[in-house]
């Protein structure tokens, strides 16, 4: 039956899940092995997000029949039940030999044609399909009610980002000569492949104030592919010196309000990279359009210190497996003297931190932050004390996070450690952050991990959502 060829999918996995799968597929015996990935579906961005990896036991779940192997019906049934219960996509997995390129065999494709129409009707909604792996390569055949699609690549997120394609891409060819020249010094560190990767990345920055504006500036200088800037605030006189590219003309006057911070950031980015796509959302990140824009990015920086921003970005990060880099700088005055002054960078999301598990979101503060402004002032249980905020301290937390982003995404990071990092200014010491007391039951990261569109994000409700 002729089927419409649909836009390709990208599969996204946590590094820890990929390691389990890789170890299972590529065993010392050199044989084929099988598994099923239960994936959340990010329909708008054509991403399949791995939530569960079900490894098929050799000889009972994954059995040789003549020259080929197949998953046994009982195993398939268990996997389908799991997928159906959580609204996930069913993706069967096996491996071939070889290195650097892979494709399905004719036997594989024939089995898809025999089996997948029935699986599609059982799941009634999410796609079904298959992935075949070789060393450093993956190919996919995804079936949807409307047609069939290939898998463009598989992205593995963690301490070292990896990306696999059906065959090795000529990365140098993807990097235009003039870009190569402009970023020549950077290419010496990152390689053409690393620089080309940066040039393809869409990065969201939530918050465009002191730290956020610095991060936006730095990402522009690094040569990322596009930026999404989210911040509802306008410039005030009191924050102008800390906001990169802000001028006295951006301050509010008796006749007009201050300039939107996202517009100041965009103006600055235009100076450096006039052609780089730069989307602005002068909204809180719990606005549906802002959250949707953040959700389609490859990485997120969280530089807004509200509990609402923390909760929403933490949810997006775990639900869509988007590596997220959170920054903060704080000076705590006690009794007229500074008790502590530190900068912190945390990695959230795939194999990283959950802000709920780490005790970094207070439920009551979340409620107060979510109230309309007129109710919020009356409800604040801690009197509104203005926190000190200093340009150079913001620079430290931003630099820690930006380099975490750069070294994890380009695969240069050697350590598998994704723990938070802290710098203590008063004692001139780099520290590992001591996490808050972990919750016994975290209702957030486990239920959200990899669910993609299958779970509602904690954002403002619109009539269309109903």
């Amino acid at each position: 039956m002729a089927q419409e060829q649909l836009k390709p999918w990208v599969v996204v996995s946590r590094s820890s899940d990929w390691k389990r799968l890789e170890k299972h597929l590529f065993q010392a015996d050199g044989h084929e092995h099988g598994a099923v990935l239960c994936c959340g579906v990010d329909k708008a961005n054509r991403r399949l997000i791995v939530r569960h990896v079900l490894l098929a036991k050799d000889a009972s779940d994954f059995v040789q029949h003549g020259y080929s192997y197949r998953l046994e019906p009982a195993f398939i049934s268990r996997a389908l039940t799991k997928c159906k219960n959580e609204g996930l996509s069913y993706i069967a997995v096996h491996n071939h030999g070889g290195h650097g390129s892979v494709a399905f065999s004719r036997t594989d494709l024939a089995s898809h044609e025999r089996g997948y129409p029935a699986l599609l009707s059982i799941l009634s909604g999410p796609p079904v399909g298959a992935l075949v792996f070789a060393h450093d390569a993956v190919a996919g055949d995804i079936w949807e009610p409307a047609g069939r699609a290939v898998v463009e690549s598989m992205v593995v997120c963690g301490a070292r980002r990896q990306e696999f394609f059906p065959c090795q891409l000529p990365m140098r060819a993807m990097l235009p000569e003039e870009v190569n020249e402009a970023f020549e010094a950077q290419v010496h560190l990152l390689g053409a492949r690393g620089q080309a990767l940066l040039g393809r990345l869409q990065v969201a920055v939530v918050g465009a104030g002191g730290a956020g504006s610095m991060i936006l500036q730095a990402l522009t200088h690094l040569g990322v592919g596009g930026l999404v800037s989210v911040d509802p605030d306008r410039l005030e006189r009191s924050n102008r010196p800390r906001v990169v590219y802000a001028t006295p003309d951006d301050e509010p006057t008796s006749r007009r309000m201050g300039t939107l911070k996202v517009d100041i950031a965009k103006r600055g980015a235009r100076i450096v990279c006039p052609d780089m796509p730069f989307e602005t959302y002068p909204l809180s990140v719990d606005d549906p359009s802002a959250a949707a824009a953040v959700t389609r990015c490859d990485a997120i920086f969280l530089a807004a210190d509200t509990a609402v921003a923390r909760h929403v970005v933490n949810a997006i990060s775990h639900q869509y497996l988007i590596p997220t880099f959170q920054v903060g700088a704080k000076a705590i005055p006690v009794g007229g003297r500074i008790d502590s002054a530190f900068a912190v960078a945390r990695i959230l999301g795939p194999d990283g931190l959950c802000m709920w598990c780490a005790g970094l979101i207070d439920s009551t503060k979340l409620q107060v932050d979510a109230l309309p402004p007129e109710e919020r002032a009356a409800a604040e249980y801690v009197p509104g004390v203005r926190q000190p905020s200093v340009y150079t301290m913001n620079a430290m937390s931003s630099a820690l996070a930006l380099n975490d982003f750069l070294f994890t995404f380009t695969g240069l990071q050697r350590s598998q450690d994704l723990g938070p990092r802290e710098y203590d200014f008063l004692n001139r010491r780099a520290l590992r952050t001591v996490l808050g007391k972990a919750r016994r039951v975290c209702a957030e990261c486990e239920r959200r991990r990899g669910r993609a569109d299958g779970l509602r994000l904690p954002i403002r409700w619109t009539p269309s959502a109903a």
Binding site: D286, V308, S363, Q367, P372, A378, A379, Y381, A443, E444
Partner: protein, 125 residues
């Protein structure tokens, strides 16, 4: 209303089945919810009160805070306890009750249980 807030409203109606429960949507997915005709016992004037909360679109991750009751609530023979202050509810004078839940557990702690606890606290304060 978000499905979670709608469910919380249902649970409040079930918990306070003897009482009138009114609600107004807040336009962002939350709701202003008020339970009327609650009996505080003889120690209070008036003896009957109402309790109200604004569940935001962040519920159930967010605490149910603050809570509101009658503006003219008095305790017979002694002043009201701490955590109470003059405020307004939906544009009318009210008393704000500032009872936060340290260690709020989403999905385990609910708006209905919080209202029950606050009512109990008010009676015993």
């Amino acid at each position: 209303m978000t499905p979670e807030v709608a469910q919380a409203l249902q649970e409040i109606r079930a918990t306070f089945s003897e009482n009138q429960v009114e609600h107004t949507e807040d336009g962002a997915g939350g709701a202003y919810i008020r339970v009327l005709g609650l009996d505080l016992g003889e120690g209070f004037l008036p003896r009957q009160c109402w309790l109200a909360v604004h569940l935001t679109h962040m519920y159930p991750a967010a605490d149910v805070y603050p809570q509101f009751t009658n503006a003219a609530l008095e305790r017979v023979g002694r002043p009201l306890g701490p955590a109470l202050s003059a405020a307004s509810w939906q544009g009318s004078p009210a008393t704000q009750i500032s009872r936060k839940s340290t260690g709020w557990r989403a999905g385990i702690d609910t708006a209905a249980t919080k209202l029950t606890q606050v009512l109990q606290w008010l009676k015993n304060s």
